[in-house]
Symmetry: C2
Subunit: 354 residues, 2 copies
């Protein structure tokens, strides 16, 4: 699950409408309400309920490490965009969900739902991008499935990737483990992917020199866990709903306050510019190659150093810290010296970003 | 993968068109051509290439049994049909792909792609059916994902289910392991699911007293493997493309001939009637709760007895046997004493059956 509610204190929101809206897929408040009201209601079990990026379990065979298991469907539009396509996006997204569980990928699956009339050449490009991305992450696509629906019953090509991974022996990660005194690290500039997709749709009539940050973060996470082990308390890749939504999930699950500094947030000028035109805060814009790490205060300097030394974490910075109070909330100290509440994403300003 | 080519001797078919057609999703010849030309070309690796119902691998941790991993996307239309819905169909299908690898499910994932405007009540029905099916199979849905696309960009609701399973310690199954002298067992009447979907669409203007056979076969497979172990050479659940396509995959992968008896094929009269009206051979009509088992001649009687003693295998019968020659082919001895070639499914007489 890339959309999470967190335990305890999960918000059981009422489902005001009786039909699905785009906001239910945006990763923010409506998604959490849907998950609570429909999915958790039916699927309740101890592995699902933490609503982490993947589930971690033992196989029951003596001596085994934990396995992580995750799934994501991709419906990004357009299918091809600067810096990537739905194929590498799907592979990297699933690798990153495993990484957020502290796991290295053992194997990936690929499921395709293709609209009749879709060009083979485009499918081949997508599939080649998946193979390259899997190889870059040190893993393979080992099983798959293809379905075709009639023209007009899908939108080109949808991709599901699921992944199985082996949890790092020193990992002790959980969305509920953030503690007062912890530092919040983000592994690089935020919002690149979402801003790239917005511009690629051409609706803004502007162009800018940004590309998606889609990338596999399993190597970065391995380096981090090798260095700080259980000093890393929680990891999340900041996809739908952006860094703001991820921090809200963690604050909610851990019953802590997270306070970030606006001045510390790494945002590229071109991303800032696109967000200003659209009236969207970059904190809510999806990244597809950035990890948010909550690390103990004592290990924060080590963690930052090892992340910066990794090719996928050169832009890592500490953006805030964890406090006791107000539990369950995210606050931002603004550049003007004030403090504002950073809520979870509401509505869906950017449908089909991933 | 529920659509398989088999190794060695996989047919590398030319892709005559440059666009995807419905036949590419039907599980027959066009699907195999697509898999060879696009997916295997890009994803080539030793775990994928056998094109079994799932991939089996070791986790690399000392002392572990093999893990099986599989994925399937479901686009069945209509979403609700006599005997089930897309939800239990998806769960049972993935459980059965694991079972065909000789594995019991450890955990399942669920990925939803939902069209804007879809009714919550329908989603809730689907999700409840998934939970019930998982419970019946002794497993759980432990991770998930939800995406929403704009109205007109999907068709109600598509579901992906992936699964991780633990391989039976005595399993020695492979599509390439069928040997001359083996018997071919099918676990019950064939074509019920496909015929039910055809009738549920209402296009034929007839009704009949048939329901989908969607069911989890992991218990049946466990009973079989407990009894005959490595005496079971190959298992496949007969979904898209029906029993004919599965037998062709096995004959091709094992480089053997499979000869079946028309008189032995279990087909319900109502299914036969619907198939006659449509001009479709029941051998090509999908089942969603029937296993095809290739078992050594020496163990065939034991296998049949244990399958018949299981609630999911009461209708098990031996439908044929494996021969040397003509390698790679499936033949049927007809009721009139002749012999005909049973080829793999061509085209797609029944789109979106699963």
């Amino acid at each position: 699950m890339t959309a999470q509610g967190g335990q305890p204190g999960r918000r059981k929101l009422e489902l005001a409408q009786d039909r699905i809206t785009l906001a239910h897929g945006a990763g923010g408040k409506a998604t959490h309400a849907l998950i609570s009201a429909v999915f958790l209601e039916a699927f309740h079990n101890s592995l699902l309920e933490p609503l982490d990026d993947g589930a971690v379990f033992k196989t029951g065979v003596a001596g085994d490490q934990g396995l992580a298991f995750t799934t994501d469907s991709y419906v990004v539009s357009p299918l091809f965009f600067p810096g990537g396509c739905i194929g590498d996006l799907a592979v990297n997204g699933t690798v990153n969900d495993l990484a957020a569980c502290g796991a290295q990928p053992l194997a990936l699956s690929a499921g395709f739902i293709i609209e009749e009339g879709f060009a083979f050449a485009d499918l081949a490009r997508i599939v080649e991008a998946m193979a390259a991305a899997a190889s870059a992450a040190g893993t393979q696509i080992v099983t798959g499935d293809t379905k075709v629906v009639q023209r007009g019953k899908a939108d080109g090509c949808f991709v599901n990737t699921s992944g199985v991974g082996l949890v790092h022996p020193r990992a002790a990660l959980s969305a509920a483990s953030a503690q007062p005194g912890d530092k919040v690290i983000v592994s690089g500039p935020i919002g690149d992917h979402g801003a790239t997709i917005m511009l690629a749709r051409g609706e803004l009539g502007i162009s800018a020199d940004i590309v998606s940050d889609t990338a596999a973060l399993n190597g970065l996470v391995a380096a981090l866990l090798d260095e700080v082990g259980a000093g890393a308390h929680a990891l999340r890749d900041a996809t739908r709903g952006g860094v703001a939504t991820v921090l809200n999930e963690l604050a909610d699950a851990s019953r802590v306050a997270i306070i970030i500094d606006e001045a510390a947030l790494p945002v590229r000028p071109a991303v800032n510019g696109a967000c200003e035109l659209l009236g969207i805060d970059p904190l809510y814009v999806a990244c597809e190659g950035r990890m948010v790490a909550i690390v103990s205060g004592a290990e924060a300097a080590n963690a930052l150093a090892v992340m910066r030394a990794h090719p996928m974490g050169r832009g890592s910075v500490i953006i805030g810290e964890v406090h006791d109070d107000p539990a369950g909330m995210v606050l931002e100290r603004t550049a003007f010296g004030g403090t504002r509440v950073v809520d979870m994403l509401t509505g869906d300003p950017l449908p089909r970003i991933c």
